[in-house]
Symmetry: C2
Subunit: 421 residues, 2 copies
């Protein structure tokens, strides 16, 4: 099945809002075997909405819209599309009653504002799609030319309605049309996450796309976190797609070796916590240039408290000395950004927090603060364990935010490589 | 001037990539008086690209595309659009030489791969747009029907080329056509950021859109950071737009009073650092459930080191006791999530880091860890100064990430309200 998206809202064209809904819809449709062939965004004008939807309907007969279902006079999606189907509008008492009850339940007052009646006004002959996450219901209109499903623009409401109302309907249609059952071709992808290895070295290790890699599309996606390897299966039924991706993932993991740390959206912090937990080890952190970002990443993972106990944000030299026991002589001789200081930070935070493992980061995040010997991006990382302390120094690339993120990723990876079996 | 965007790439339709480029382009065009009336996204197929661009050209005569300029066989933007203009393709020796020199300068080897020649292949009669931030040059094609500007899809390269090559050209055209000079209507917006006040209370304080507010569009944008108030001027020349926004901003700031902390993208952490800096005060932080996120936000601001010295991430009770001096009896009697513990954390970190001000956060970020008395989202914040310690307890809404962000915002706001003149 081919479909189109039409996203509605002047905010999209003015750039006030990034159209993230389109990506969510495109991905979920691809996973059930619906191919989005075009996406169009138009402003809040009835003629523009009607033109874009009519053209999309003519091309594919299957159109999903988002936005323009709110209570204000800007919200013209319903009448504009009703007109394409030659339908008038009517007030739906059932929808109105639901809006009224929700209004009262939220403690917003005894009377639904008059403006909200517009949200209960629907095209004649439309199927009403329940909105469990907000007030505006969705609308499904259909005739011999095809169907248009209208979803709200609020991301949480859109996602709920897509899952609850749209995907099940489309799966039924795919089955009925014989596109689905066992044989429907879908798009599925999987990502192997790597860190600590350059894209070119990874490409050399993976080599040419033979064997299982010949059956999928491989994308190298470099970022501050490392290089993600995304494999995508196009035009296979679900079971075969899963097999093709698993086989490709096996090849990639073997090629990437210890540089691979996770799958899909898994954060390296979660992998490191898992490794430490499985070995019964605790962790502390001492952070200078990252200022708490390493701790924030670790504690973003639910359940991190059984491994990560905390640590010290040692942004100033006084705090490095007094709260971590870094020697004045070390700071004077080697500077705050040095492997020597990083090692004393790691040892200090491990001793004070009484953990098995400690990581320390000190560096020049930039844009200011660099010197010819230690330019912005210079970062030192140390990891202390009962076996002793290790440290490294690197020049990381990127702006302040990226240098800080790269520094936390590198520190996590240093812990991982020290402890991984 | 009316224009359209066509963003090219199967990744966009499959939802692997969110089309953030469109928002950037829409915003910057609006600010010089170009109205984007439609945006279309199509996949990497020549027929789809040609159809979308031809239709856009027919409607407005002014089209910007992104994507599909890379070195691979998927990159079909140039020949697809050249065909619309009836042009063939030719290898440009100047572009090829530039690619070769850049390749060597980056240390990638002595020979440019054959595939990269495709990036030096351009439509006959095209104007080549320099890419200072990457390898693929942009292309400008034009005839009596109008123009198409082709930009790369990589965001950094796209932004550079938009700024360096596209906006200046469009400004010249607007002047020549008489749309610009003093009188061209543009879209400009400004945002007043507030925190600590509910949207409904803010709406009551602002009241009906009379006076300067009648001349602009006002949007309430609630999020974890508070409620942003965005005012937009449509269809006014630049000077008048600036005046209308300044007048509206004055009304909003007066209505929001002390709840307003900044403009546009300014982070509350930067405002708090400015207030502390102007009064010559230093700051430390003690964080439990936020695990370093407050420190990370403060140190994300360049130059924060003259105010923020660091602090303690006290995720475990042992660290709270041993590194901050929280009493065992306090933890036993009131629990780790209590105003009493927050107060001792704030006092402890201020004494140990020897700062003028200290903020402490402890809470249940969720999803687990809640109890009937202290459900997930329960957070206590304390601020200690020479004048003594203050504390509050709240139930914050949202998931783990949102509760943590809201907790840091609230702690920053507590410091701000304590110290603001």
């Amino acid at each position: 099945m081919r479909a189109e998206l039409v996203t509605i809202g002047s905010e999209l064209l003015l750039g006030f809002t990034v159209d993230a809904n389109s990506a969510v819809i495109g991905r979920q449709l691809a996973e059930i075997g619906v191919t989005v062939v075009r996406r169009t965004s138009v402003g809040d004008e009835a003629s523009e909405i009607a033109a874009a939807v009519r053209e999309a309907l003519d091309r594919t007969g299957a159109v999903i819209t988002t936005g323009g279902l709110g209570p204000t006079s800007d919200d013209l999606t319903k009448p504009s599309i009703a007109a394409i189907f030659g339908k008038g509008m009517r007030l739906d008492e059932g929808v109105l009653d639901g809006l009224r009850q929700a209004w009262i339940a939220r403690g917003l007052g005894p009377d639904l504002p008059k403006a909200n009646e517009w949200q209960a006004t629907v095209p004649d002959g439309a199927t009403i799609l329940t909105n469990r996450h907000g007030s505006a219901p969705g609308i499904w209109l259909e005739d011999r030319r095809g169907w248009v499903a209208m979803l709200p623009g609020v991301p949480r409401e859109m996602r709920g309605m897509l899952r609850d109302e749209i995907l099940p309907r489309l799966e039924v249609r795919l089955r009925v049309s014989g596109e689905s059952a066992n044989g429907a071709p879908i798009v599925l992808s999987r990502t192997v996450r790597t860190t600590g290895i350059a894209e070119s070295a990874l490409a050399d290790a993976i080599g040419p796309a033979t064997g299982p890699l010949a059956d999928v599309a491989l994308a190298y996606l470099p970022s501050w976190s490392g290089v993600d390897l995304r494999v995508t299966s196009f035009d296979r039924p679900r079971a075969a797609a899963g097999q093709a991706l698993s086989a490709a993932e096996g090849v990639l993991r073997a090629a990437a070796g210890a540089y691979a740390y996770g799958s899909d959206a898994e954060d390296l912090a979660a992998s490191v916590l898992d490794i430490l937990r499985s070995r019964g080890l605790t962790l502390a952190a001492a952070e200078s240039c990252t200022g708490g970002l390493l701790g924030a990443r670790l504690t973003a993972v639910p359940g991190s408290s059984d491994v990560f106990v905390g640590g010290v944000i040692a942004y100033s030299n006084d705090v490095k000395r007094e709260q971590l026991g870094v020697e004045e002589a070390t700071l004077a001789r080697h500077g705050a950004v040095s492997e020597e200081t990083a090692r004393e930070m790691a040892r200090g935070v491990r001793a004070r927090c009484r953990t098995d493992v400690a990581a320390a980061i000190t560096g020049v995040a930039g844009p200011g603060g660099g010197t010819p010997e230690k330019p912005a991006g210079t970062v030192c990382v140390a990891v202390d364990t009962a076996a002793g302390v290790v440290s490294e120094r690197r020049k990381l690339i990127g702006d302040r935010e990226e240098v800080r993120l790269r520094a936390t990723q590198w520190a996590l990876d240093r812990v991982r490589r020290l402890l991984a079996p």
